[in-house]
Symmetry: C2
Subunit: 596 residues, 2 copies
Amino acid sequence: MMKLSKLSMAICLCAGCSLSFAFEAGTFEASYPGIGGMVPVKVTFSKDKIEKIEVDPNKETVGIGQNAIASISSEVVKTQSLAVDNVTGATVTSKALLDGIKECVQKAKGDVAQLTKKKNIAPVIAKTETINTDLVIVGGGAAGMIAAINAADQHLKVTLVEKMNFLGGASAICGGSVVTEGSQLQKDLGVKDDTPAKLAYDLLDNGHQKNDMNALVFYVNNVGKSIDWAVAKGVKFEKDFSFRAEWRTSRMVPLKGGCPAFAETLRELVKNAKVNVLLSIKAEQVNMTDGSATGITAVGKNGTKYIINAKAVLLATGGYGYNKEMLKGSLKDALYYGPVSSTGDGHKMAENAGAAMQLMDYGKLYPQGIEVAPGIAKSTLQGNIGAYNQAGIMVDKNGNRVINEKGSGKDMVAIQTKQPASTLYLALDQKSFDGFRDYAKKNGISSEDIDKWLAQDGKKPPLFIKGNSIEEAAKKAGINPKNLLDTVEKYNSYVVNKDDKDFHRPVKFMTKTIDVSGPFYIVEQKPRFATTLGGVKVTTKMEVLDKNGKPIPNLYAAGELANSVHGDDSAPGANVAWCITTGKTVSDAIANKLQN
Amino acid sequence: MMKLSKLSMAICLCAGCSLSFAFEAGTFEASYPGIGGMVPVKVTFSKDKIEKIEVDPNKETVGIGQNAIASISSEVVKTQSLAVDNVTGATVTSKALLDGIKECVQKAKGDVAQLTKKKNIAPVIAKTETINTDLVIVGGGAAGMIAAINAADQHLKVTLVEKMNFLGGASAICGGSVVTEGSQLQKDLGVKDDTPAKLAYDLLDNGHQKNDMNALVFYVNNVGKSIDWAVAKGVKFEKDFSFRAEWRTSRMVPLKGGCPAFAETLRELVKNAKVNVLLSIKAEQVNMTDGSATGITAVGKNGTKYIINAKAVLLATGGYGYNKEMLKGSLKDALYYGPVSSTGDGHKMAENAGAAMQLMDYGKLYPQGIEVAPGIAKSTLQGNIGAYNQAGIMVDKNGNRVINEKGSGKDMVAIQTKQPASTLYLALDQKSFDGFRDYAKKNGISSEDIDKWLAQDGKKPPLFIKGNSIEEAAKKAGINPKNLLDTVEKYNSYVVNKDDKDFHRPVKFMTKTIDVSGPFYIVEQKPRFATTLGGVKVTTKMEVLDKNGKPIPNLYAAGELANSVHGDDSAPGANVAWCITTGKTVSDAIANKLQN
């Protein structure tokens, strides 16, 4: 590392300020923890300028953290300032990078305080830009990107508006599997007898017949063709079905590389398509003329107002999981693990345009959440599997088991949401905790994370407790110690007799007794959700319906905004397939309408 | 009764003949058995003329037999001839009436042979008539009549074409109950939480997910409003639900007066509406211009060809149960109890117009049929109930029981269709046979019918056997006598122990042992059907789809012709409701389209 002892002054290059800085010319390095590990940054200084910022290989999320790294680095160099905002949706990565740059500035003897001062930016004169387009799509998640790609392929003039500074929405954090009913993919994997009606039946079963029937028939009639389209466009799938009890017919296929790869493929396709992508521009309303949608109004970060006139408006704005004000019922207290961009913007825009809404109380809850930040979850789904392979059990605050730990998530949530603070607890001996720790990595929970949480000793969430004995761990976690001891003994007798008389845990997951000698661990288990199920009412062509049941001309919905297709619960693989189906089929219908 | 001894001659008044007749002036009476009992006729003669035919009160079917009586009476008087054809679909009534008239002619000393001679009618010059209309409806069953009434209410010019000489189709022989999901009627009866999705789920369950999803969504979204319409128009319902296992939600309500009253209400409404009803005119094809339906061509009995130009064509032609050539699979051998007019005309017309067909193998089978004429069934549903209330059992040709006699019809048909000649047998001691005879009346089977069939002693169908002992009855019926004896003994032991170890017949229907002392009776049980389930593929607006999945412009389907909505089985009350829903909603859509 070079060091220069001579300080020099320089005039800042930025327009709205006249500060001057001095650095030791040279390249300095620092590294702070991001979301996927450390974020190693290298900053090169001349005497009076931050010349270059480089970030070494890291595990920040493609399309989210990586975009934040690129945009923040370029912003700092461009503005010669550290007064750069974190990127919404990539806060942890942004902070890691900015902290690293600041350390480099300190190492280069720069004045961090001065550089971090908000600049006296001359007030921006708000501009208004008018854009004329065939189709404006609001929201750059899976549904919006697919609609944009497909509409552009059909020579529509497409404008895609995304409030974040990257495309992806919830697509990169999805479950990673896709329903393929009626597709060539499904047939090639050996299932040729699936039908729209069979899929509809399973969806109605899973969603307790709260499903929107119009959306449902649209879904089942079009999913196969839409999956075929995705395959043709380069979306990659595994070579076998994934089996789940929700589906009576084999129709769920994992995405190759999971959802991150899926999202990346879509981003590439958008890049290569003739789509006018407007990032960091937030749609604010659907413009209506004589009861018909005629475009949208959006606002850029710099205050620029965009009037986008369009022949068709497609809202693909995702859910409202990150908007507490819109959450109801058990969702209000559940932990969230979805994207921060899911704030229900499209729900509000649609409602203001006269749309009828439904099922706004519902979301897809899973039982295996730990609270890693206020209101924010990480999933321990994999960690639990590791624990149950050993001798892990689940108990309530009274220290009693309440369910077959290997039962369905749906049954577990039903019991969990009736507990104080909707919380259940994993009760783990050493080998079970080791199993938990090992498997938890698959959900992106590192051993370091776990040690940090253990060190907090329950003083702040997530609750990870270690005690020298069962009683000590129980007491620290606020669980009835005597009952927990009894529960452990009873469970051990069930293991010996190969019969869980209380909850019928499968014998193959009861091979080991719980070690009562200590140490002993307690881990909180709270409901988590990412996907909301409430949304707009639609016709069988995904036209948005008004409160009198009439379609609002030229206004369409796709993806999570129209999630009532699922009813009060969503089945595995059904959300991604829904985004693909709506994105593809609605854009086809719009192209067909505009060109005929 | 007057008698005149003087004979006189007269010139026949009919145009195409020059025969002369002589009668004893006066009024004569005769009476022959029809379908519902005796048909008493009074004929008044002058010296040279049949002056008047009157028929006294009788039980012939309203809308079918009664129409035949009216049209034959008027035809005989008008043509002064007995060479009048039986009315198709009312053969028994026609024959009873004509036999009565002939007897009266004999009593009046008229020359029956001469009067029955085919007249030398001058060859008819085939005419062509052209009719211009807004909507032409083919088929005057429930769906067609409702569409006609509703379209006329909305000031469309409506032409209703029916090949029979009366309106009604299958409506008068339906099960008599109606699905009411979402209607005010259902709410008024206390069920307010039914939904389209709940109905869809039950229909998919019952139809084994073979249901047409487009038709299904159309059905569940529109049935409630359609029932409300029917109520407003004067269709009368009972004041309570009828409960059936197929429905998870109470939604089936019996029609007041059953289906005959329903059909009669519709006929009255058609009569009072501004509808151009063309009876005895058979539609032969949908006329197509540039791929769009532009009307139909039909032919009258006298050879007149009708070109009916229309802006919309609605096919409501019913099923194909009476057309052996179109029946497949287990339907081919099943007995039929539906209307003779169900010959699949609309299926053929639609297919010739390019329509895609589906589920043509399926019909709604019931297990309790006896063959009263070749291929024709009557139902013994009620008779069986009477027999099972005593000690009646059901056996196969080997003399073994094969099922819980009180189980579902669906399960019974599944076993029955695997038997030789798809036949099972009621095995009845005297008190069980008495119970059968008593209850069978509710299905229109008289004690005289039963005695007649017993007298035939199995020499021709239906098989009704009486033997002095179990063995004798079994032998005559071709059933293994030893096995039947063993079966009876075993069943009796189950009755004593209150436990049917083989098939779990409910104990409350096992209160009496079978009397082994004789006499003993065997009654055949064959599958019967009236409703076919195959039909045209449709859009969610009941537009007929072509083989490429594109709607055929201006061509719509309603009623049994689009019965694939039900899947491979139809649930109770779902057929009548389907006819009401399609008739009402499709005509609304057509009116809306033509007037906007």
